[in-house]
């Protein structure tokens, strides 16, 4: 929970208690308990120190915003949906049906180096770009010729590699590569394990233990067969029931349930078994002898070994790794099913069609310690990514929750933040500036006035008096951190529907509030003789802009970079001028 940098801001997602449920406010207020009623009305001060809080506080970058629910959404209350699969190397989209049948690796010419994991390139070894071709790592110079494999043509490498590996007769203990192994084999832990370490299913009859690959192929065939039987079973009921019983009952009982459909299957237990049998370990003498011969430089490192499906011990047995596919994901609100994030379907594009991120500007400030019982002033800067002016109300408890409460005071808890208009408006011409900042006691530090404001941001002063911590009591680390819960409430008017031209002029009042927790800093030792220590405005901390960049067609956060920079530099200048003002 303790962020290494202070101050930091965490925002509370209320979902931890009731994900996706509207709180039944009415039923509670109906109760005759006036205390409860009041509790509901006023809301309870959020306690950042309560153990439950750890589960509901998130840094801003982990949050999304649902417009329909008017609510922040954390990773727990959004749902991922795979939009597409693609190969990170050739950027080809792979249909999900292919992913299911062929596995989650690229079946084109995308391989990575088994030594250093960089991408391999198809390279001609002959004169004038003629064959034979190899897969060459430009980084560590490993190539498939190191394991004695070259290709006749520079295309369909996967098929060629599969054929070559099949042809290569390798000792069974560390062989790989049966038919289409490297890419069509699912990477589930069940199918992966090394032949040496794992307990694996064992058909009771054949003494020569099958290799992983043979076993995998057998199981695949078996389940495929089961599948066809199941789909060809016209009589749904009795036949499939007995078949199921046959599958799940132990070997001896199978016979009695067998039907005409599956006379061969019931002869022996064919499906996956986990513990029922153990496997006799292969003799390792041969491997040890080989390792001795190969020496240190001929052996694979741990990471090189575990990334390969057959887990080779020697470098001569490594295989090029087919590129693992990646996904693009859309995210939905769990409560209303509204899509919060939707990436562009096109693989090559990093744009988003819809992206509702919760926006908040946050300047990291170096760790510094707070002096007990001295007044510290911070600048709280609210930036607005919306195209509408927002009114912010900040509320904090006078004393922070916890055993040793700090006193908190926000000089100007209610203020307005300008709309996020074009950055050039601010630069070109004073008439474009928001009226709010006109004159009204800028940078005076008086109660009831804002400190400073700009195009789409406003800063106010937050005063904190940390408590004096007793010396004679054993304190926990958490007691040293000053955590200020702040209720941020914003009200703004926005166009009802921006898409249809009819409702253009109708404005809708929207209101949104949430709890955030500001971790200001760590209370240090009291320095004798330095009472009025004042690091006024040493922290320019942005709190809160509650809502997202509206979904623009491109989805790119416009000028965000610029705004951040501008904002940061402005808060830096506050710091200097604040020193002078005080």
């Amino acid at each position: 929970m303790n962020a290494p940098l202070f101050p930091s801001i965490l925002i509370s997602c209320p979902c931890s208690d009731n994900v996706g449920q509207q709180r039944s406010r009415r039923s509670k207020t109906a109760a005759a308990d006036p205390d409860l009623d009041q509790w509901e009305e006023e809301g309870e001060t959020f306690d950042p120190r309560s153990p439950r809080s750890a589960f509901s506080l998130f840094p801003l970058e982990n949050l999304l915003f649902c417009e329909d629910c008017n609510q922040v959404r954390c990773p727990r209350c959004v749902q991922d949906e795979i939009a597409c699969y693609f190969c990170p190397s050739c950027l080809f989209e792979v249909p999900s049906s292919t992913v299911k049948s062929e596995g989650n690796r690229c079946t084109r010419n995308c391989f990575s180096c088994p030594i250093c994991f960089a991408a391999l390139a198809v390279t001609a070894t002959g004169e004038d770009q003629t064959g034979p071709f190899i897969l060459l790592c430009a980084h560590c110079l490993w190539s498939t010729s190191d394991i004695g494999i070259t290709f006749e043509k520079p295309t369909s490498i996967t098929a060629q590699l599969t054929a070559k590996l099949k042809a290569a007769s390798l000792p069974p203990s560390n062989s790989l590569a049966p038919p289409e192994s490297s890419h069509s084999r699912p990477l589930s832990p069940l199918s992966q394990g090394s032949s040496v370490y794992n307990f694996r299913p064992n058909s009771p009859i054949p003494p020569p233990a099958p290799t992983d690959e043979a076993e995998f192929a057998r199981l695949k065939g078996y389940y495929h067969q089961q599948n066809t039987i199941a789909s060809s079973d016209d009589f749904g009921g009795a036949g499939s029931l007995s078949r199921l019983m046959g599958m799940y009952s132990t070997g001896r009982r199978i016979g009695s349930y067998g039907t005409g459909n599956m006379p061969k299957l019931v002869k022996q237990k064919q499906e996956w078994q986990e513990i029922e049998s153990y496997r006799v370990m292969d003799s390792e003498d041969e491997v040890i002898e080989k390792m001795k011969k190969a020496g240190f430089y001929g052996a694979t490192s741990q990471s090189q070994r575990i990334i390969q499906s057959h887990q080779p011990r020697l470098l001569e047995d490594v295989r090029p790794l087919a590129a693992l596919l990646r996904t693009k994901r859309a995210k939905r609100c769990r409560s209303c099913r509204h899509i919060l994030v939707k990436p562009e379907q096109k693989v090559g594009s990093i744009r988003y069609r819809i992206r509702l991120v919760a926006g908040l500007d946050h300047n990291a400030v170096n760790y510094f310690s707070l002096q007990p019982l001295a007044t510290h002033q911070f600048l709280l800067t609210v930036t607005n990514p919306l195209y509408d002016v927002i009114n912010i109300t900040l509320a904090t408890p006078e004393k922070t929750p916890g055993k040793y409460p700090a006193t908190v005071y926000i000089l100007c808890p209610e203020f307005e933040v300008g709309a996020s208009t074009d950055v050039w408006d601010e630069a070109l011409g004073p008439e474009a500036k928001p009226k709010a900042k006109a004159a009204k006691g800028r940078k005076t530090g008086l109660a009831g006035t804002i400190w400073d404001s700009g195009r789409n941001w406003t800063s106010v002063i937050l005063e904190i008096v940390p408590p004096h911590l007793p010396d004679d009591v054993e304190l926990e680390e958490d007691d040293f951190i000053v955590k200020v819960p702040i209720l941020v409430r914003s009200v703004y008017e926005s166009d009802v529907d921006k898409d249809d031209g009819i409702g253009k002029d109708i404005k809708e009042k929207k209101e949104h509030s949430y709890w955030s927790v500001l971790e200001v800093g760590r209370i240090g030792k009291k320095v004798a003789g330095k009472v009025g220590f004042d690091d006024s405005a040493s922290a320019g901390t942005g709190v809160a802009v509650n809502k997202a960049l509206p979904p623009t067609p491109s989805g790119e956060p416009r000028e965000r970079e610029h705004r951040d920079r501008e904002h940061r530099s402005s808060s830096r200048s506050h710091r200097e001028s604040a020193g002078a003002a005080r």
Binding site: C140, S145, Y297
Partner: protein, 182 residues
Amino acid sequence: MAPKSRLSDHAASRPPCTLSTTILISETAQLTGSHPISIGEHTVLHPRCRLNSTLGPITIGDYCILNERVNIAAPDREGCKIENYVMVEMNAVVEARSVGEGTFIEVGAKLGGKCIVGKNCKFSPLTTVGEEEIVEDDTVIYGYGERRKDMSANKETRKKLVERQIEGLRALIKSDRAKFLT
């Protein structure tokens, strides 16, 4: 404005140079020091590549490419010897006693003082070799100092590539050999 070029400071102490007539040397390359510097045939020195012979002589073979801001310095009086077909990429620092034929030194790699590098080695970007270390032939240093032996037989291809690249550079770099001989 950039500070005054160091080249002009050292103009007085320009080292004695033996430059092949076929080399390609940019006028902004910097040869400094007092010990002799000799450069073999068809070698390319890019702009702002620096050779410093203050502590010892520098010998560079044929068909080498020394890229921009490469820094080559002799470690001591025995000097620094770079053999043929050595490619030194941008920002690399070479203070080796010797670098073998066909070695590639990639961007920002650093060969520490008096180290001895074999033939056909490759140093991946930003890798380093310690002082007085001996690097065997065909060693590839990559990642976080991992090493492997390169068994592939495409060394001749690499040499051809270097030759072809030098041909291409002839059209790009204006050579000013005379400047370094006066």
